[in-house]
């Protein structure tokens, strides 16, 4: 329910009360006549009780026909009508109707007290008592109104004019019916009070029932008008008790509204899945603390991460921390300016904790993903670095030593020409060994890729058995991981060219270009590719955050290299 509707109802209730108070004021002006002397306090108490009751009704929201709010409305109507009876500005007809309406007070209060917090009692006896109260008060009240003549009534003190609703006036019968009515009210109220108070349910209702029952008993036991002191005391007791009932009703309504509002907000939040860090931002705005940060522990580690999974920054100077704990383990650490500690603690309700917990899980997941990706990248980089080291070792070690042997053989042959013929086959073997070593070293890591970069390294692949053309390649040097991945894909893909009709391999073409921070490789003219090979490309490129897509004789690969 919208706040506007609630405040609208409250305003309406206040307006009704103000107008009724104005109507009731002439009662105070009757004081000098000595008939009755209700003080301003008495009137104020009545007004306050009715206002509280109506506010309670207004806040209770749409309660349905049998809700406590409806009953509260009937109680309030009874109270207002009771105050209006005999108001000098009311015509006789109005006064009679007001008396009839004022009868609502007791049965409505009894039902409300017995049924709280619902609108209809749960127990059979209570239901029976409720129905009996409504029946007795309704039947006897109507009967009394039908024969009542206020002018002839000795107990009448105010507005004792005519009763236009009377069918046949009979003061004696009216007096007896009034007594019966008071007996019925007293019995109903006191029985309800006993039931309510013994079961410790709606104690304000129970107390009000006691007061109304006592009121009825006092009136029953008094012949003629009540003494003024007694009348004022009873009136004040009634007002007080009903004010408490109204307050209880208002409190219940307010609690319900707040819960409803929280649920609506939470539902709205849950409806749109928030981006990481949303809660941190809203908390920052709410507290006006731009330094506020929420960090989350990564399970199994001492580290803390922010909502997007990045490592959390250290706590700054002059900052305080608030730790959210669930069953002994920290859920989140909020760092903030020290003066906001109290406001922060107050704002961390169950919904906030749920949002934070949700963000914590997202942050942990993101952190794990980041770590996994970094780990894959490190594995690939480490592998490349290791191959490069091997190639260098081979180049600077074994290859040089074999070269040295060749040089020494050459010198020996020159020094003694008679040995030359015998040494020739050995020198050829040494040359072959060098060729083979060179191929092995190149296979481990192409030195040209490291020294001259991708275009030269790709261009050299055309020396192989498959016709190969590089259409385009960026001259700019790229991260070694990206260069290595592209070279690796192209060099291995060249082992699987598309066969032509003559059985010769078709030409494979490669195009590499850098669009923004993404390196694109396009290969055309490929034949059937073994699944493990494609998988190895996907692993290598995936480790660098890129993707490979093979379709037919073509391959597309995108690699971030910012």
């Amino acid at each position: 329910m919208g706040r506007v509707v609630v405040f609208g109802r409250v305003a309406l209730a206040l307006m009704v009360m103000v107008s009724l108070t104005v109507m009731a004021l002439p009662r105070a002006q009757l004081a000098p006549l000595g008939v009755v002397n209700p003080s301003q306090a008495v009137i104020a108490a009545g007004v306050a009780a009715a206002v509280l009751m109506l506010i309670g009704v207004a806040l209770s929201g749409p309660a349905g026909p049998r809700g406590p709010a409806t009953l509260g409305l009937l109680v309030a109507a009874g109270m207002v009508a009771g105050a209006a009876v005999g108001a000098t500005r009311l015509p006789d007809f109005g006064s009679s109707v007001a008396w009839l309406v004022s009868l609502l007070l007791v049965p409505a209060l009894v039902q409300m007290s017995l049924a709280w917090p619902q609108g209809w009692p749960q127990h059979r006896f209570e239901r029976w008592l409720t129905l009996a109260t409504w029946g007795v008060v309704g039947v006897v009240g109507l009967a009394r109104l039908a024969v009542w003549d206020p002018f002839a009534d000795a107990t009448c003190v105010l507005g004792c004019g005519a009763n236009p609703l009377a069918l046949h006036t009979d003061p004696r019968l009216a007096r007896e019916l009034l007594d019966a009515l008071l007996v019925g009210m007293a019995v109903a109220c006191l029985a309800a009070a006993v039931l309510v108070l013994r079961r410790r349910r709606f104690w304000p209702g129970g107390v009000a029932c006691v007061v109304l029952g006592t009121d009825a008993l006092v009136r029953l036991s008094t012949d003629g008008p009540l003494p003024q002191a007694t009348a004022v005391a009873l009136h004040q007791a009634r007002c007080g008790a009903l004010a408490v009932v109204g307050g209880a009703l208002a409190l219940a309504g307010w609690t319900r509204l707040r819960r409803h509002g929280r649920l609506v907000r939470l539902a709205a939040e849950l409806d749109t899945s928030p981006a990481p860090g949303t809660y941190e931002a809203s908390l920052r705005d709410a507290l006006g603390d731009p330094t506020l940060r929420i960090s989350y522990p990564v399970s199994g580690q001492q580290a803390f991460v922010t909502a997007d999974g990045a490592p959390a920054p250290a706590v700054g100077l002059g900052q305080a921390t608030t730790v959210l704990v669930r069953s002994g383990t920290p859920l989140a650490v909020i760092t903030h300016e020290a003066q906001h500690a109290d406001a922060l603690a107050a704002s961390l309700g169950p919904a906030a904790r749920m949002a934070i917990d949700n963000e914590r899980m997202q942050a942990q997941l993101q952190s794990r993903l980041d770590e996994l990706r970094a780990s894959r990248e490190r594995i690939v980089e480490h592998g490349d670095a290791e191959r490069l080291r091997l190639e260098r070792d081979l180049h600077d070690g074994a290859q040089q030593r074999v070269l040295m042997i060749g040089y020494e053989l050459s010198r020996a042959a020159q020094a003694d020409p008679s040995l030359a013929a015998a040494l020739d086959p050995v020198r050829r073997d040494v040359a072959t060994a060098l060729d083979e070593l060179r191929d092995i070293a190149h296979g481990i890591y192409p030195g040209i890729l490291e020294s001259l970069g991708l275009p030269a390294a790709l261009g050299a692949l055309a020396d192989g058995p498959v016709p190969f053309q590089v259409d385009d390649a960026p001259v700019k040097r790229l991260p070694p991981g990206a260069e290595c991945a592209v070279y690796n894909i192209v060099s291995t893909a060249l082992g699987h060219p598309q066969p032509t009709r003559e059985g010769l391999p078709a030409q494979v073409t490669a195009a590499v270009d850098l669009r923004g921070d993404t390196l694109h490789l396009h290969l055309a003219g490929l034949g059937e590719l073994p699944a493990p090979l494609v998988q190895s490309w996907e692993d290598r490129v995936g480790a660098l955050g890129g993707a490979v897509h093979v379709s037919g004789s073509e391959l597309e690969c995108g690699l971030p290299c910012g």
Partner: protein, 226 residues
Amino acid sequence: MRAAMRVVVAEDVLLTRAGIVRLLTDAGVDVVGEADDVDSLMRQVRVQAPDIVISDIRMPPTHRDEGLVAAARIQREHPGTGILILSQYVESDYAMQLLRDHPGGVGYLLKDRVFDIATVIDALRRIADDECVIDPTIIRRLLARPRPAHDPMDSLTSREREVLALVAEGRSNEGVAEALFITPRTVEAHVSEIFTRLNLEPGTNRRVMAVLAYLKSPGHSDSPKR
């Protein structure tokens, strides 16, 4: 007989450097300095003013292309100094990069070419004569590249291919004639025919570069100019 050539040898692996130096000395070359990185090489060049610098490609600190970088510096700071790169790498791009910077007076040989010291001495002479020298193994690999159908290379006779290979190695017409035991005029006719067929600019003074570039880029299926 000319005066002995004065060379500086740059090579970071001591064993290899010693081997090369001994072979060169045996063959009558005057090794006036040795270096194991770019800085010491530049110092030697400044102090000794050699005819030719013989250098490895990979040297400290990065072991990437220090030899080529040093060659560019030497050409800039000491023009007229010949460069012979001795390398383990058969990829033509290294040689091409060298040629791109210096049209003459440079050479690129594989280290095992030194087994036949006569080849090295011949290369040093040609570099001193401002010719260029490319290792035959590299040219053989380029010529052996698979080519698409109808490539103009297919129309060359085997003698023309021989001439083409020698031209690519950096030999002059006289050099080609000497190697194939034919007259320089015949070589001239072959070269002219080859260049026409391959659609290359004849008479260029950078003909080695032109031929290498041709051999490196496949897909010349257009009919040549006649």
